[in-house]
């Protein structure tokens, strides 16, 4: 009776009201949670970075930059990682630290993987110790402690690409990086080592005030000027004339290139005055006579190709399409509301999702297969070229033992120099041909041909020798004359 009366008064029972209260409370809770979430998301988008330290053009320590840019710095720190891909990447190999070399972990020895490299580099420090490159974080230590330092005396020039040199250059040159560059080149390695403190750091690629990319290596400035001059563009200034997208390759091209130390002043020089292709670089070395060492077995004046990633990439379809190093090796990633470049610089094969799939909308397995099938083919060709060059070296060695005169050995030796450099150009290039598959194939095919000619020349046959491609082509073979468009 009482319950009935209450219902009369309010129109609702106590139970109905309780349910209504609980339901309203729960929905209110949910709406409140949503509101807070929306608030958080809006906040995420508001502030891309906080300036907690003031950076200047002399701030060398990347940890300080990392306070303003923690996400980029986190990635940068991850370059200590050692991870393999099928043909690249390093494997952590334990070693017992010694007084001379305190490293407890190194990368696998390439010389043990392929002993033919020792024949290729006989008489050169690389035949003593050559390991798979590790990440950026290790560049300074790995060069300081390689056994190569014990068999040869290297100049301070090496620091150009094994340390953060922008601030040390400024210090040595009293503010002028070109002067500092010249001074450091002429120091002995271990004296220059004392002038540097870090592996490549933020300031080597970024302007401290605007964060814009900039070139800090005099050798690249001069190399590009020479290259552009050969293409008809005089007085090219890379820091003023390059586009933002070009800079995303140029900052990497300051180091990932073929180079040599010019003259007694050991000036780091990029041999690009005739072009970036392997044969154009060889031609440059003929016109500006240079050899890295005299081969211990054959007596030939030979060259060691270094890691010409920038040159090889330039011959490939990605460069042609305007895709740069950073697009694949430092792809964009989202952190909260921010879009940043992944500063964990590494093989795109370890990050196919961000590196490849942004443009190539195929499954990850398919993309990996495409890359690896290119690399399988190039690696097969590289092995054949290696066999061919090693066979030529063996033949010259045998002829020398027989007492052949230097005049007789001159052409075979020059062919060895050419064959060997072209092989090394692909072998030392860190993509197993992927950066420019057809170019890698062409270069290896020419290497094999030069080795073949060298062996024939030793047997007294007449060979086209060092003539360029157009001279080798027989008169009967004509170039198709159809319109090119």
């Amino acid at each position: 009776m009482a319950d009935y009366e209450r219902r009369e008064k309010t129109g609702f029972g106590a139970r109905t009201l309780t349910v209504a209260v609980v339901a309203a409370a729960l929905v209110t809770l949910a709406v409140l949670a949503l509101l807070v979430n929306i608030f958080e998301r809006k906040q995420e988008a508001r502030n891309p970075f906080y300036r907690v330290v003031e950076l200047t053009d002399d701030t060398e320590d990347p940890a300080l930059w990392g306070k303003n840019f923690p996400h980029q710095y986190d990635g940068y720190l991850k370059t200590v990682d050692q991870q393999r891909t099928r043909y690249g990447g390093s494997e952590a190999t334990p070693r017992t630290p010694t007084d001379v070399d305190p490293r407890s972990v190194v990368a696998q020895s390439r010389l043990e993987e392929d002993p033919r490299l020792k024949t290729l580099w006989a008489g050169y420090a690389f035949s003593k110790d050559f390991r798979e490159e590790r990440g950026h974080a290790h560049m300074l230590a790995d060069q300081t402690f390689t056994e190569r330092q014990q068999v040869t005396r290297q100049p301070g020039t090496c620091m150009n690409c094994h340390a953060s040199v922008y601030v040390p250059f400024k210090r040595l040159g009293n503010g002028d990086i070109f002067k500092g560059f010249e001074k450091m080149n002429q120091m002995p390695y271990f004296e220059a080592r004392k002038a540097v403190n870090h592996p490549v750091a933020c300031i080597d690629c970024h302007d401290s005030q605007t964060m814009q990319l900039r070139v800090t290596r005099p050798a690249f400035v001069e190399g590009m000027r020479a290259l552009k001059a050969s293409q008809g563009e005089q007085n090219y200034d890379v820091n003023k004339m390059a586009s933002r997208q070009e800079m995303r390759a140029f900052v990497c091209g300051q180091c990932h290139v073929e180079y040599y130390f010019k003259g007694p002043e050991k000036r780091l020089t990029f041999p690009w005055a005739k072009g970036l292709k392997a044969d154009q670089i060889l031609d440059y070395y003929e016109e500006n006579p240079h050899s890295d060492w005299t081969h211990a077995e054959s007596g030939a004046s030979v060259l060691k190709a270094q890691h010409p990633e920038f040159e090889m990439w330039n011959q490939g379809i990605h460069a042609r399409s305007g895709v740069t190093c950073a697009d694949c090796h430092m792809p964009y990633m989202r952190v909260g509301a921010m879009k940043i470049s992944d500063h964990h610089v590494r093989s795109p094969l370890l990050n196919i999702n961000n590196a490849c799939q942004t443009c190539h909308k195929w499954p990850e397995a398919e993309l990996r297969t495409r890359v690896e099938s290119i690399q399988d083919r190039v690696f097969g060709l590289r092995n054949r070229a290696m066999e061919a060059v090693v066979a030529l070296i063996g033949d010259i060695k045998e002829a020398r033992a027989r007492g052949a005169a230097d005049a007789e050995l001159d052409l075979p030796r020059r062919l060895q120099r050419r064959a060997q450099f072209m092989l090394d150009f692909v072998e030392a290039e860190n993509s197993t041909g992927f950066h420019a598959p057809q170019e890698a194939g062409r270069v290896l095919a020419e290497s094999i041909d030069y080795a073949r000619q060298g062996q024939l020349a030793l047997r007294g046959a007449k060979v086209p020798g060092l003539q360029t491609d157009s001279a080798v082509r027989p008169a009967s073979a004509t170039t198709p004359k159809g319109p090119s468009k």
Partner: protein
């Protein structure tokens, strides 16, 4: 027990107010417009929005022209489905990156291409279009927004 009605009424009042404020704060009414800026209310769409501004179609088509079907009911059905899915994904933070379009939305977009480019597409596709339809955006992936 007499306070219950008052409590219920107050709570429902708070709920209504909070709901209204959340709706305003989240720019709820902007979703009823055609303004592309509304789609970038959530920062996850920021890059798509910027890419669209640079694309060849930005002068002739807004988001809704390619991502919703014609007609009031189909348009708002699609807006409703996508709006719910997107809000859920963005609120919980559980979604695939890079973002991937769903089959239903590909279909909407493919039909949208044909809204304006019927003549040329019909000539390319010929009579067998239903069985073996070509995809416009497979090749023309940059016309709307590259990202």
């Amino acid at each position: 027990m007499r306070f219950l009605p008052v409590l219920a009424a107050s709570l429902i009042g708070i709920l209504l107010a909070l709901g209204a404020y959340t709706f305003l704060y989240a720019k709820g009414s902007s979703y009823l417009t055609n303004d592309p800026a509304a789609c970038a209310n959530c920062h996850v769409m920021e890059n798509h929005y910027r890419a669209w501004m640079k694309s060849s179609h930005h002068a002739v088509a807004v988001c809704n022209d390619c991502h919703t079907p014609p007609g009031l009911v189909p348009k708002y059905t699609t807006k409703g489905i996508n709006g719910f899915n997107h809000s859920l994904a963005f609120t919980t933070g559980r979604f695939h990156e890079p973002l991937r379009i769903t089959a239903r939305n590909v279909d909407v977009t493919e039909k949208a291409c044909r809204k304006c480019h019927t003549d040329i597409v019909a000539a390319i596709e010929g009579p067998h279009q239903e069985q073996n339809r070509l995809s416009c955006i497979r090749c023309h992936s940059t016309v709307g927004h590259l990202e």
